[in-house]
Symmetry: C2
């Protein structure tokens, strides 16, 4: 945790907050903070700055905070992600959030197992927690926009164009004849398939939505590795 | 696993192999392969190609293999990595291996806890296994060169120049005035610090070795995320 993320309910008054639970434990056990320390803090969807530890014990962490810096700009990058296996979903969301991805759609695909949709990790609170952990890692305060689309075709064929707007659409597909672009100046939506890839009909739907297939090289990467490599390459 | 990695001891004769243990289980339970399937295979440190499943049961997986393709080229990228926490070490090694990193040095740093060096995950067989898993993920056959350096100064001050050769040396340091370069044509060695970063004396040692400090943006990334973003940006 490189930033303590504050929420409106944490404030005792305009400049003092009290934290308990997960954040208190982390500050005690991992940061090993003491009274007088000045950890980085940020208000969810708001400014960032420094706190000063006024009190720290089993009951709570009291901080006086000064919030005057803007959060870092998001990458102009949105992801359409075939729902990953539950085991990797948390890591993927946290990685995307830490990298500054602006928007994420979790969408169904032929090769996504139905059971993935019923995982407890799909609970909105769990999804949100891992996005928050990514913000705390990356030192950001602004949650990426997250959208969950249980049905592939209504999303990709009907809703995607409006969601995409004028952004460049890219579909990461091993073996595509076009190499993935570098150092874009414009916004971009990248579609990343499930393990085993998008099937032909899904690729056709993306092509009909104006997406171009791009190759990321001969290596097959895990979703969380691929998305970090993409973010590094595109922006 | 996107490639079944074969070792010389797996061969029954010039074109037939028998696999047991981890690889057999994976092919049975994850790939759900059947007789006649043609999985991708590769010989460790050798060529790649296709196998044909001749037999698959609890006793073993017999394949007839044809190995005629060269493995993908490595990235001209070497890493000097402060030893990560045991919990993340395996993931970092597998990610680096899957990305095609050519060489990795695990080195001590002031902020690396001593206990990390005594973890069972530092066992050479365990280190090697996670590099192999990365090759199987990324479809490569050539193990990255791995070096373990328990002492920082003898490595960075004495051994690093010869190991680095003429490669560009970069130290990822948040807030450095120089932005990390993009799309390099030349080989590069990147030093990635521990959680909490390199201390000033360590940065000075790298500077004396000719390393330039570069900034990767305002976000603090996990090691495995940072190295994938770096690989995507540099090559």
């Amino acid at each position: 945790m490189n930033l303590l993320l504050l929420q409106p309910g944490d404030f005792l008054d305009a400049r003092r907050v009290r934290l308990q639970g997960r954040r208190l434990l982390h500050v005690q056990e991992v940061h090993r903070a003491r009274v007088g320390d000045d950890p980085r803090v940020g208000l969810l969807d708001g400014p960032m700055g420094r706190g000063r530890v006024l009190r720290l014990d089993a009951e709570g962490l009291d901080l006086e905070v000064e919030l005057s810096e803007p959060p870092p700009a998001k990458l102009p990058l949105s992801l359409v992600l075939a729902l990953p296996r539950p085991k990797v979903l948390n890591r993927v969301l946290a990685a995307a959030s830490s990298l500054g991805v602006a928007r994420i759609v979790l969408v169904n695909a032929w090769k996504v197992e139905k059971a993935y949709w019923k995982s407890p990790r799909m609970d909105p609170d769990s999804l949100r927690l891992h996005l928050l952990l990514g913000l705390e890692q990356g030192r950001d305060t602004v949650l990426p926009e997250l959208r969950v689309e249980r049905l592939f075709r209504p999303f990709v064929e009907d809703a995607l164009p409006a969601w995409q707007g004028s952004a460049l659409g890219l579909l990461a597909h091993p073996g595509a004849s076009l190499a993935c672009p570098r150092s874009l100046q414009e916004p971009c939506v990248v579609a990343i398939g499930p393990e085993g890839g998008w099937i032909d009909a899904e690729r056709a739907s993306f092509r009909d939505a104006g997406f171009r297939e791009v190759d990321l090289g001969p290596r097959i990467l895990r979703v969380e590795t691929a998305l970090a490599a993409l973010a590094g390459r595109l922006y």
